[in-house]
Symmetry: C3
C-alpha cells in the first residue's frame, strides 16, 4: 500500500487536512496517510523542515511526503517534487526540504528534483491560496500511484535552501543552538552527541544556567532537575525532568548553548 505523509501549518480546526486526504484518496484510494504535524507555527519553514526531517527515516522507502508551509503561495515561488534516495517530497520550493537534501548529498544519494508544471496532475481548478489541495496533494497521490517524476515537469538543480543552524567550534568546546522545542518543553540543539564522544567532562550554559555532564535518560534524575542528554535523533538536548525546560528557562528556538569540554 502506498504511504504518504503530511506536514503543514494548517492546524486541525478548519478541515483543510481532511480535504487533502479527500484529494489523495480520490486519486490513490489505498493510500495510507500519516499526519506528521499540522501545528507548525504559521509560516515557519524551518520548523516544518525539522519536524519532517526527524520523521522521514522511520518511513519505508517509497513514501511520498507532502509538506506545505507556504507563505509564498500564489506567487512565482515554484512548486517542486524531489526524489532523494528512496523518498519523495512534494511542496513549495522555499527550503522546506533542505535538511533531507543535505543528508542525501552527504550520503551520495541520487537526487532528482522537478519543477511541477504539468497541470494534468493538478486539480482542474487551481486556486491562488490553497496549493496544498490543488497541486501538492494531487501530485503526491499520482506519484504514489507510480507516475514517473519526470512526467511532472522539467528537472531543476537549484532548489531554494534554508540556512540550517550548525554548531560552531570554539576555543574550549562548541557554540550550539536550540533547533527544536518539543511539546514537553525539551530543547534540542544542533550539536550531534558524537561531537562529545571524546570528552571527559562537559558543561552546558544557556540563559544563565549551567548543566554539568550528561544523564542517560529522563528517569535517571529527580523531577524538576535541569539535565542534558542525548535525544532520540542523537543530538544534545536540554530538558527538565517531568517539566518544561523551555518554560522554566524562557528558552527559544535559536538560543545559543555554550558547550565547554575538557
Amino acid at each position: 500500500m502506498p504511504i504518504l505523509t503530511l506536514t503543514t501549518d494548517f492546524g486541525t480546526k478548519d478541515g483543510f487536512v481532511g480535504t487533502l486526504k479527500g484529494v489523495i484518496w480520490s486519486i490513490c484510494p489505498a493510500a495510507q496517510i500519516a499526519d506528521i504535524s499540522h501545528e507548525i507555527s504559521p509560516q515557519t519553514v524551518l520548523a516544518g523542515a525539522f519536524a519532517l526531517w526527524r520523521a522521514v527515516p522511520f518511513f519505508p522507502e517509497g513514501t511520498v511526503h507532502v509538506a506545505v508551509v507556504d507563505p509564498g503561495v500564489g506567487t512565482s515561488r515554484r512548486p517542486i517534487a524531489a526524489r532523494l534516495g528512496g523518498h519523495t517530497f512534494v511542496g513549495p520550493d522555499n527550503g522546506l526540504f533542505t535538511p533531507m537534501l543535505e543528508d542525501a548529498e552527504k550520503k551520495g544519494w541520487r537526487l532528482e528534483i522537478v519543477h511541477l508544471m504539468n497541470e494534468k496532475y493538478f486539480l482542474r481548478d487551481v486556486s491562488r491560496t490553497f496549493h496544498g489541495r490543488d497541486i501538492f496533494a494531487p501530485v503526491a497521490a499520482h506519484l504514489a500511484n507510480g507516475v514517473p517524476l519526470a512526467n511532472l515537469g522539467p528537472a531543476i538543480t537549484d532548489p531554494v535552501r534554508l540556512s540550517m543552524p550548525k554548531p560552531e567550534k570554539t576555543a574550549d568546546g562548541w557554540r550550539a543552538h536550540i533547533t527544536v522545542i518539543d511539546g514537553f518543553g525539551n530543547c534540542t540543539t544542533d550539536l550531534p552527541a558524537a561531537s562529545l564522544a571524546e570528552c571527559a567532562n562537559v558543561v552546558f550554559r544557556l540563559r544563565g544556567r549551567e548543566v554539568r555532564g550528561l544523564v542517560a535518560s529522563y528517569g535517571h534524575k529527580q523531577p524538576g532537575q535541569l539535565v542534558a542528554l542525548v535525544d532520540s535523533e542523537n543530538y544534545i538536548e536540554i530538558a527538565i525532568i517531568n517539566g518544561s525546560a523551555a518554560k522554566t528557562l524562557g528558552a527559544q528556538v535559536g538560543d545559543v548553548v555554550e558547550v565547554v569540554t575538557t
Copy 2:
C-alpha cells in the same frame, strides 16, 4: 476502499474519536477514515456545517460523512442519514447538513433522507449521551458496506434547516458577513467572488477599517498588510499577510462586511 469522514466537536483529548474509529472498523474493516475537524466549538452547529461543506467536494462519490455537533443528544431530535447526489451524510437532524442540502437542491440532485429507526444497525446498547458512537458511526459503517439507505428507516422530507448567512444587496454594493475564521485568522465571508466580476472598483469596510481592491494571493503584499482576496472556495476573504486579521481587527463570525462597488 470505502471512505468515511468525521466532523465533530469532541476534541481529540478524550479518546472519543478513536472510539468512533473502533466502531467503524468493527463493521467495515477496510474503511479509510478522514478526520475533517474535531475542534468545532462545542455545540456550534453552523461552524460544523461550514467545515464539512468546504471539504465535501474534494472527496470521491460514495463517501459517507459522519457529523456530530449535537446539543440535543438524547432528546427527541431525530437521527438521520441523507444521500445528496453521490455523498451520504449521517448525524443529528439539527441543520448540520444544510449547506450541502442547499447545494444539492440548486444542482437538482436526487435527495433521499431517512429517519434512522432500524436499531439493527445501531450498537446493541445505545447510551443517552453518545449517539456518535452508538448510532451514527455504526450506521455510517453499514452504509459504507453497501446497506441501502432505505433499510435504515422511513423517508423524511422535512429535515431541520439552519438559516445560512447570505449577503444582502445594498444601494452601492453588498452587505456581507464573516462566516468562517480559520486558524490563520483569515476571515471568509458569504460573498461569492463572482458577485464582483463586473466591478471596476471595490472597497470593503469592517470594524472601522477599509480595504481597497483585491489582491491575487497572500504573497502579493507585505507582511502585516490588511487585504481582501478570493479564498479557496471562491468567496471573498479578509486577511492580514502572515498575520491574523481576526485578532488584529477583533473580528468575529457574523460580523458585517460592507462592500461598496463602482
Copy 3:
C-alpha cells in the same frame, strides 16, 4: 486488516506520532491505526489508562493497543506486552493497563503478559528516550503481523498496578471521586450508575454545590444548569448543560463527590 491504536502524551505538534506510524507501516503495511489520544497530560499514567480503557471495548478482537505515557523511559522499568482476552496491549510496565487488567480478571479472561526482551522485534538502534518508536511501535506491528506473544520475551505475572480510584460506601450513600474531566468539562466519577439502581432519591455534593436527581441527557435541562447523569460508560457524571462543569466549579480529577441516597 490488522488494527492498532495509539495512546500517548506526545502531543501532535512534533511529529512523534507520525513517526510511530512510519515504524508500524514499515513492518505491517496494511495496518489500520486509530489515534485514541495524544493529549494525555505529560506523565499522567492514570489519565492515559482511563482514556484507553474507555475506547478498548469498541475495537474488535485482535486489536493491538500501544500506550506510551512513560516517565521512566530509559530506566529499568520493564517494557511489556499483555494479551487480555482478545486485545493486546504494548507499553511500559507502569500501570497504564491496570483498568483493562482488572476487567479481564473480573471476567475470568485468559491473561498472558511478557517482558519484552527479544531485541529481534525492536528497531535496530534503541534510543534512551523514545521507546515508543524504538520498542513499542515495532513490537506492536510484529504482533499485528501474527508474531506469537511468547516469542517476545519471558512471561511475567507481576505487572505494576495503579491504585484505581473506587467509590467508598458511606452511612447514607457513597463517597465517589472525579476520575476523568473531558474536553467539554464534564466530570465523570468512579460511581457506577448501577449503584444507584435501587434508590428513590439521590443528591450529589461537590465543591459546595448540590445536584438533586439524575437527568436523562444533556438536552433535558436548560443551558447553564448543573446536572448529574449517566455517562456513556454507565458511570455517574456531573455536567453543565452546554457549559463546562469543571471550569464553573473549579473541579479537578480526584475531587470527592458525596452521594446521598434515600
